[in-house]
């Protein structure tokens, strides 16, 4: 089956490659990845899961602020981000800790951001990762603009992968961003992490559409629904969509809307208590679709992974996360001057005055007294 045909499916024909037992479904073809790449996909998903558990625990211990967990969504994040080339761009929401890691944002940065330190936003210059968006759907028009600018600059061969949740599809910005992308035929892939719940509000209350993928029809381009907990289907679909964004066929529109159907196992954020609005039985039902054991079974069955590999990966993952936490926690609190320094290229006279008065106050009273509630 040629990969581009994934995008020709009906929006309600949910695409998958691996079933819940990690077996290749009838007629599906496995993506053309090397053994190392398959294992890397697994390793990154394991890393993401462990990182997530540690981050939630840090928040519980008061070592980190509010944090949005991703467990359950590793397949969608790692599978899609692995389909990016280095030159492609990733435009995240606020939950794509695994996807951004795959595309070059260090774990330490993600930790720092949620520890309330602006240095978490120091994305390495060579990583094409856009800044995290906390408001809902506001990054969607940005992604269209980034891709549009690339097209206006006559660049070719760059795709722009933008993530958002099911709740975001209710916002005006989602519709405006997709509409522009269709009209101006921009090289975008819009990737909806449909995790079933926008905090407490179920997918059914976001839209009366049968699928989110079908919304693409209204904007004139392809929409495809996939099993977001099947990392191979995610990879194959994203790769096909990125390929089309860069090299569309005759009369084909560049953008694609991918609806990756999945589940958030944990809370929306550490400030949320999902037991108020959903049943444990529902969570259990989705746990059976967990992307990690699913990929593991496939890799073991195809001889790409054995007990020893799994053990080594788990040890390495724990070490890497522990190192990241130590690095983040030993990063000093930013200097308060930094608040003033990045507002404009050159500080305005009024801001300079405010900074001077503030420094004088710190001098006079000392930080301890200034910070007293």
């Amino acid at each position: 089956m040629p990969v581009t045909s994934i995008l020709d499916r009906e929006p309600d024909d949910r695409f998958r490659i691996l079933d819940e037992d990690g077996e290749v479904v009838d007629g599906a073809s496995v993506p053309d990845l090397s053994d190392e790449e398959f294992v890397e996909m697994y390793r990154m998903m394991k890393l993401a899961r462990h990182f997530d558990q540690r981050a939630v625990s840090l928040q519980r211990q008061g070592r980190m602020g509010t944090y949005p967990p991703l467990s359950g969504q590793e397949g969608a994040q790692v599978g899609s981000a692995m389909a990016l080339d280095d030159d492609d761009w990733l435009i995240p929401s606020y939950r794509e800790h695994a996807a951004t890691l795959v595309h070059g944002l260090p774990l330490e940065q993600t930790l720092l951001l949620w520890m309330g330190n602006e240095h978490g936003n120091d994305v390495p210059e060579d990583a094409n990762v856009f800044t995290a968006a906390v408001p809902i759907a506001s990054q969607v028009p940005h992604a269209t603009g980034l891709a549009w600018a690339s097209k206006l600059k006559d660049e070719t061969g760059k795709g722009f992968l933008c993530y958002f949740g099911d709740g975001a599809t209710s916002e005006g910005d989602f519709h405006e961003g997709l509409n522009f992308a269709g009209v101006f035929d921009t090289p975008n892939v819009f990737f909806c992490n449909n995790n079933q719940w926008a905090i407490s509000v179920p997918r059914e209350r976001q839209t009366a559409s049968e699928t989110i993928a079908q919304k693409a029809t209204a904007y004139g381009f392809d929409g495809v629904q996939i099993d977001g907990m099947d990392p191979l289907a995610v990879y194959a679909t994203t790769e096909a969509a990125l390929e089309k964004a860069k090299n569309p066929g005759e009369g084909e529109r560049r953008p694609t809307l991918v609806e990756a159907v999945q589940y958030r196992f944990g809370a929306h954020t550490t400030a949320d208590d999902p037991s108020v609005y959903r049943e444990e039985a529902e969570v259990e039902k989705w746990r059976a679709k967990d992307p990690i054991p699913r990929l593991e079974k496939f890799l073991r069955a195809t001889g790409r992974l054995d007990d020893g590999d799994v053990e080594r990966i788990e040890e390495a993952v724990e070490e890497r996360v522990a190192d990241a936490i130590e690095a983040a926690e030993s990063t000093p609190r930013p200097d308060p001057r930094e608040m003033f320094e990045n507002v404009y290229e050159e500080m305005t006279p009024r801001l300079e005055r405010q900074l001077a008065e503030f420094e004088e106050l710190r001098e006079t009273y000392g930080d301890e007294e200034i910070l007293e509630d």
Binding site: G65, T66, Y94, L113, W114, M115, G116, N117, E118, G120, V134, P135, I136, S138, G167, A168, S170, E171, G172, D173, A198, I199, S200, V201, R205, Q206, T207, A271, D272, V276, Y277, R333, P334, P336, E338, M339, F340, V343, T348, R350, L351, Q354, F358, L361, T364, Y365, E369, I370, L371, E372, D373
Partner: protein
Amino acid sequence: MTETQNLTLVQAVRDGLRDAMAADDDVVALGQDIGKNGGVFRATQGLHEEFGDDRVIDTPLAESGIIGTAVGMAAYGLKPVPEIQFSGFMYPGFDQIVSHMSRMRTRSRGRYTLPMVLRAPYGGGIRAPEHHSESKEAFYAHEAGLKVVVPSTPYDTKGLLISAVRDPDPVVFLEPKKIYRAFREEVPDDPYEVPLGEASVRREGSDVSVFTWGAMTRPTLEAAETVADEMDVEVVDLRTLSPMDEETIVESFKKTGRAAVVHEAPFTGGLAGEIAATLQERALLHQEAPIERVTGFDTPFPLYALEDYYTPGPARIAEGLRNVMEF
């Protein structure tokens, strides 16, 4: 004698909203996560059970949709109380607020009025991520046709919210979330009103007047105690920012001749400037010192590692008061 309960500020929001809904079937609450979940801060907890799906409504995630449909509901005779989860997310609905909610009465020559109350938690101090902490009350006070309320105590919260729901004009009701659970106060069980547009003198004094509101009221009172052996500070809590209680402000200033304004919002374009200008217009000859503005800085509200540097605390406020006295 009416019974009372010892409530936090967020519980007083719920109590006030509950009473308003019980008294008037036209009052409906709508927003994200306000139903089964009871609101992310639990401000609507229990109301969905009590009033059902048609009166406590979980909406799709869309601020413009929430506020815009509330405009339509209000024009059609309901009294909607939309909640925006954090005031930092009101901007997608800003067009509806300033283009429509504020001016429906004007535009329709009085035929359509919007008796709605737009509620949102606002301000910093809870170690939240970006866009969860800003104070942009000046946006709304700048807009004609809106009333803007910021309570600072549980008692006031319930009374002001009931007044806001009963008010024929649209009200933006900003709840200082830092003090949602900071302290408790006896609040009557029965409905009561605290009138909109009236400030409250929280502490009487003769040397200098401080004008403030919301979460800044408590550190201001604390600062007033800190400097008590240097000066006698009067603290006025505005409670309603639009319409502003000019009489109380001007009278206090005439008495003391010196003033500071304390707000968490940025300096430039903040309401401190508006208050200072009003005092100069109405009481210039009573003025004995420049009016001091103790405010947030002209920077985006920082991530929480620095938020306590941004927000005025008792030490900065006390310093501001000394500046006024030493002139």
